[in-house]
Symmetry: C2
Subunit: 195 residues, 2 copies
C-alpha cells in the first residue's frame, strides 16, 4: 500500500489501476480495488476520474500512448523518408509483439479494454495514421515517394500492415516465419509508394 | 427428415452437418443430431467419417472450398494479370463479406471451426496463395509485374489484404469507408508489383 502522504495524482491512480487490472482482470477490477491499493477513499479517485468508465478509458489511452510516443520520434527524425517508414513500421510491430509476449495477461486485459473503448482507440489510430502521413508527405516532397494523397496512402500503409499490429493477429507474431513475412509486406508497400 | 431410401453420400452428410451446426451451434452439435436429421443411425455416419473431429474438419473444408473454387476461375482466366489480380482480391473480399453478412450465425460457427481446424485452414490458405502465385507469375512473364520470387510476392499480397478477408476483421467490413479503404490498399499493392 502506498503512503497516503504522497500527492494523489492522476498518473498515480492510473499506475495503480493498471496493476489492479493485471491482478483482477478487466471483468472484476473495481474503483474500490484501486482506492484500496493507493490507501485512499474511492471518493478521492472519483475526484480525478468521474466514473469507472472514464478511469478505464484513461488507462487504455495511457497504454496506447506509450506506443505512439515511442513512434513519434521516428516519424519526426531528420532522415530520409524510406528509412523512417521502414523503421516506424518495424518499431510498431516490435512494440506490439513485445507487449503481447512479455506480459500476456496485461495484453489480454487491454485487448478487452480497447474493444469497449469509445474514443481512446479511435484517437490512437488517428494519431498513428497522422504520423505515417507526415513521413509520406516528406517523401513525396523530396521525390522519394509519389502519393497523390499522402493521408489516403498512409491509411493504406497502416491497413496493409494490420497483420503486424492488430491484437487479433497476436498468435501469428511468434511464428518463425513472421519476420520474413513482415519484411515481404514492407518491401511490397515501399515499392508501391516509390516515385 | 430426409427419406432414408436416398443413398447416404458424404455430401449429404456434410449438408446435414452444416444445418445441424447452424441450428445447435458448434459447441452443442453432435453426430447423433446429424444422424437424426438424416433419418439414419449414427453408425452410418461413422462409416463415412470415422470421428466427430473428422466430420467437423470435412465440413470446414467444404465451406472453405466454396470460396477457393469461385476464385480459381478468376485466377485461371485468359486476361491480363493486373485485372485478374484486382478481380481476384475483390471477389475474395466480396465472398467473405457476404458469408459474414448474409448468415452471421453460420459465419460465427465456421469461425469457431476454423480456429480448431488442424489442416483444412492451412490447405485453404496454401490453395489461395498458389492461385495468387499463378497470377503474379503470369504478370511477371509478360512484363506487367516485377517479382523476383512470385510465391513470396503472393504471400505478401495475401497478408497485406488480411484486413479484407480474415474473419477477425469482419466487424470492419460493414463500415461505409470499407470499400474506399480496400481500393486504396489494392492500388498500393498493384503499384508495388508493377515492373
Amino acid at each position: 500500500m502506498a503512503p497516503t502522504s504522497e500527492t494523489l495524482t492522476a498518473e498515480r491512480i492510473l499506475e495503480a489501476t493498471e496493476e489492479v487490472l493485471r491482478r483482477h482482470g478487466p471483468a472484476k477490477a473495481t474503483v474500490v480495488d484501486v482506492a484500496r491499493a493507493l490507501g485512499v477513499s474511492h471518493g478521492s479517485v472519483y475526484r480525478h476520474f468521474r466514473t469507472k468508465a472514464a478511469l478505464r478509458e484513461a488507462v487504455t489511452k495511457r497504454w496506447l500512448d506509450r506506443t505512439s510516443e515511442a513512434l513519434s520520434g521516428i516519424a519526426a527524425a531528420d532522415r530520409d523518408a524510406e528509412s523512417r517508414l521502414r523503421d516506424w513500421l518495424a518499431a510498431l510491430f516490435d512494440a506490439k509483439r513485445r507487449k503481447a509476449g512479455d506480459d500476456p495477461e496485461l495484453f489480454a486485459t487491454y485487448s478487452v479494454l480497447t474493444a469497449e473503448s469509445g474514443t481512446a482507440v479511435g484517437e490512437h489510430l488517428a494519431d498513428l495514421t497522422a504520423q505515417l502521413t507526415r513521413i509520406i508527405e516528406a517523401g513525396t516532397a523530396d521525390g522519394t515517394f509519389a502519393a497523390a494523397d499522402p493521408a489516403t496512402a498512409a491509411g493504406a500503409v497502416f491497413q496493409a500492415t494490420v497483420r503486424f499490429h492488430d491484437p487479433c493477429h497476436a498468435r501469428e507474431w511468434e511464428r518463425p516465419a513472421a519476420e520474413a513475412e513482415f519484411a515481404a509486406v514492407v518491401d511490397l508497400i515501399v515499392r508501391g509508394l516509390r516515385a
